[in-house]
């Protein structure tokens, strides 16, 4: 539903002059960014699949702090109310990045309301992270050693570290922004004695790691799906697990790659560029290991696996185009153009949303106890894949040709590619609508699912009955086999022996 502003935005870009007033378009893309980043991408997998699945996956009756978990839900709602109020009362036009001094001094829109929304919802994110960390450390069932932990849980653990350590920084940044906007404290606006580049450093110190908050849980989902539908133990379990932690750690050290043209020291840029390349290595390791997991496996083409194929392909493109942006001389040309838009939509929508849909389909029988119509599901996965590529691939070309982002109107020569993109977005919209309909239907009327329809491994599938009762297990389970033991081995086999 909140992706919808982007649809209207795309409609706007059908013609070079644009169909909407510029302010309207600016508010639409701002709303799209704020809602999708802070209220969808950040919480989506952790707050839905993570909340539901981390406890049974580690063999726990619930998260460590169920009441804090509920609190984080209420906080999220309160934050959402602030953001929606900002929209209803006339919108915000700063872009989701809130760059100062435009946001602190010049914008006449509801910046403070939207900023409070982001500020408040951040605490929801911190509390979720805290809960996962404690749960993973203290609530694992007997036999659930760290090396038997599902990779979904490893990914959530790494995500939680970022949430707990990174989110306070965006909260601080927003408080400073509010102080400048309301009290005219000179922090970011040079007219008041501040420094606008300081805002960018503070903002990206959270917001770059935040993209790993968004993508890591998706990677966790893909690891589960690829193993299950290849009926194979995951290839290089240790490498996949530790690459999540490596991404979380290195992800904190790359924020300056958003400032290559902003006027930061060229030597600082050089260091940030280098570390940005480094963080690509663990991401590549994951892709190679997923692919290798299928080798000599028994690969089935159920819907979750189709989304996993989509994820691997689109994340590969998204990741590789990230290297273009880490390469400074190329970044100078393509930053703040549609190339960047295409890159992060390939990672966030092609990656994270594909993983989310894959995960929803994979665990739908577990969560609802029912089956969805497989034919419709496969059809929708195909529509999403085609629509996605038609929407976002032309944007790589547009970006290199020089079309800047956040343009309500554009030069004539960019029209063909924009029309393609708008057409793709319409297909993508249909692709997202179909699952909403059949999943809602199946939740109520779908055929009853067997206990473990995929023959998947993991404590969450051993837990019975389905759907799980409030406290998952009556008797604490015992993990008495290696993780992803699809081949029925007695105990762990260390690689390289």
């Amino acid at each position: 539903m909140w992706a919808a502003p982007s649809r209207w935005g795309w409609l706007n870009l059908l013609t070079p002059k644009g169909l909407f007033a510029h302010d309207t378009y600016n508010k639409l893309f701002t709303m799209h960014g704020i809602i999708m980043v802070f209220f969808f991408l950040v919480p989506s997998i952790p707050a839905t699949l993570g909340n539901f699945l981390v406890p049974p996956m580690v063999g726990a009756r619930d998260l460590a702090f169920p009441r804090i978990n509920l609190l984080s839900w209420y906080i999220y709602i309160v934050g959402g109310i602030f953001a929606i109020t900002a929209i209803v009362r006339g919108g915000v036009d700063t872009g989701w990045t809130f760059y100062a001094p435009f946001s602190s001094t010049y914008s006449n829109t509801h910046v403070i309301l939207a900023a409070i929304g982001v500020f408040v919802s951040g605490f929801s994110s911190i509390l979720t992270g805290l809960n996962f960390i404690v749960t993973v450390h203290k609530m694992r069932a007997p036999g659930m050693t760290w090396s038997r932990l599902p990779l979904f849980v490893w990914a959530h653990y790494a995500t939680s570290l970022i949430q707990v350590l990174g989110t306070p920084v965006i909260a601080i940044t927003i408080v400073l922004l509010g102080m400048e906007r309301v009290l005219h404290a000179g922090i970011f606006d040079p007219a008041l004695g501040g420094d606008p580049i300081l805002f960018q450093h503070l903002f990206w110190f959270y917001s770059h790691p935040a993209v790993y908050i968004m993508i890591l849980p998706g990677m966790g989902v893909i690891s589960e799906i690829v193993a299950c539908f290849s009926r194979k133990s995951i290839f290089g379990y240790g490498f996949v697990a530790f690459s999540s932690v490596a991404i979380a750690v290195l992800g904190f050290l790359v924020w300056g790659h958003h400032l290559f043209v902003a006027g930061q020291s060229m030597y600082a840029s050089m260091v940030f560029s280098f570390i940005s390349f480094l963080v690509a290595v663990p991401s590549a390791i994951k892709v190679f290991n997923w692919t290798a997991t299928m080798y000599r496996g028994s690969v089935s083409y159920d819907t979750p696996m189709l989304y996993a194929f989509g994820f691997i392909g689109l994340f590969t493109i998204g990741g590789l185009t990230g290297l273009f942006l880490a390469t400074m001389a190329v970044d100078v040309h393509v930053t703040d153009t549609y190339f960047v838009i295409a890159h992060f939509h390939y990672v966030m929508v092609g990656g994270m949303v594909m993983a989310y849909l894959g995960g929803v389909h994979f665990w739908f029988p577990k969560i609802t106890g029912r089956l969805y119509p497989e034919g419709w599901a496969k059809f929708a996965a195909l529509v999403v894949f085609v629509g996605f590529n038609l929407t976002f691939f032309p944007q790589f070309v547009l970006g290199y040709l020089g079309m800047p982002r956040r343009y309500a109107a554009y030069a004539d020569e960019f029209q063909i590619l924009n029309v393609m993109s708008t057409a793709g977005a319409s297909i993508l919209g249909v692709g997202y609508l179909i699952p909403m309909i059949y999943l809602a239907w199946a939740w109520r009327y779908g055929p009853k699912s067997p206990q473990n329809p995929w023959g998947a491994k993991g404590l969450e599938w051993e837990q019975s009955p389905t759907p799980p009762p409030t406290f998952n297990f009556d008797v604490p389970p015992v993990m008495n086999e290696p993780a992803y033991n699809y081949s029925g081995e007695e105990k762990e086999v260390e690689i390289g022996r």
Binding site: P101, F102, P196, R296, Y486, S487
Partner: protein, 329 residues
Amino acid sequence: MGALSIFPPRASTTAGEVDALYGFLLVVGIGMTALIFFFVFFFAIKYRRRSPDERPKAIHGSIPLEITWSVIPFLVMLVMFAWGTKLYFQNYTPPRRDTLDIYVTGKQWMWKIQYPDGQREINELHVPTGRPVKVTLASEDVLHSFFLPAFRLKHDVVPGSYQTFWFEATKPGRYHIFCAEYCGTNHSQMIGWVTVMDPVSYETWLSAGAGGSSMAELGQKLFEQYGCVSCHVLDQQGRCPSLRNVFGNPVKLEDGRTVIADEAYIRESILNPNAKIVSGYKRDVMPVFQGQINEEGLLQLIVYIKSLSNPPKPAAAKTAAAAGKRSPQ
């Protein structure tokens, strides 16, 4: 360039170099994508489930493989890093040889462009081929970004500081100027054209627009108008330091530090004089000009102060000499 080209026009010395690097990245990127797609499809088809009872044997991994697919991509990325960094430093470090200096002020939602000889334009920039052009960027209000796709260059325009980059145009024509950093309602209208001309046409264009005062002369007028001249007495000991030969030279401060008097220093010393006090002078003598002078005026003052320094640049020499004559204090 055809209508379906994936490259915008190439009109600067660096455009071809950036495109070459981009081409390298495309080859690596497409190659890697093809490799992954091939193996995903190949494995998915070759090892498709043929019977529901299949129980493939576990393969837990391979250390040599993990090392291979970590190290090889890393080495390829090192090439990207080195190449990209070298070109970045080259594009953002103006050459020492004589540059044509152009001053750009971003303002919601237009580009104001000043030439040293005094021509001024809005949303239009004229440059000759074959001569390095150094662009100094200032902002009157919010962040902007001066983006020249045909030159493969952009730089943010940051209020409160000067940013510089340079280019050398190669191909006559008219190319886009875009604002690439979101700056409010009419961000998408903050666009203009750069016209690249051969040196002869450029000289013709330049002389057609001549007749007004040069930037240094305008700066000198401001210098007199704001009363700077009464304390900053040239070539004499006044209440404030003489500005002769200050620009580009080291200045000793009261706290013992020594700084180079560059554009940023002059700018700060005008807007907030107490930030750095020259050794031997008093605090609070000079009024604070923050909010009093617009960015264009500041740039003119700086060009004037530059013109007081040796060796004077050819364009400014005449003005500096004239300035000396006209200030007989």
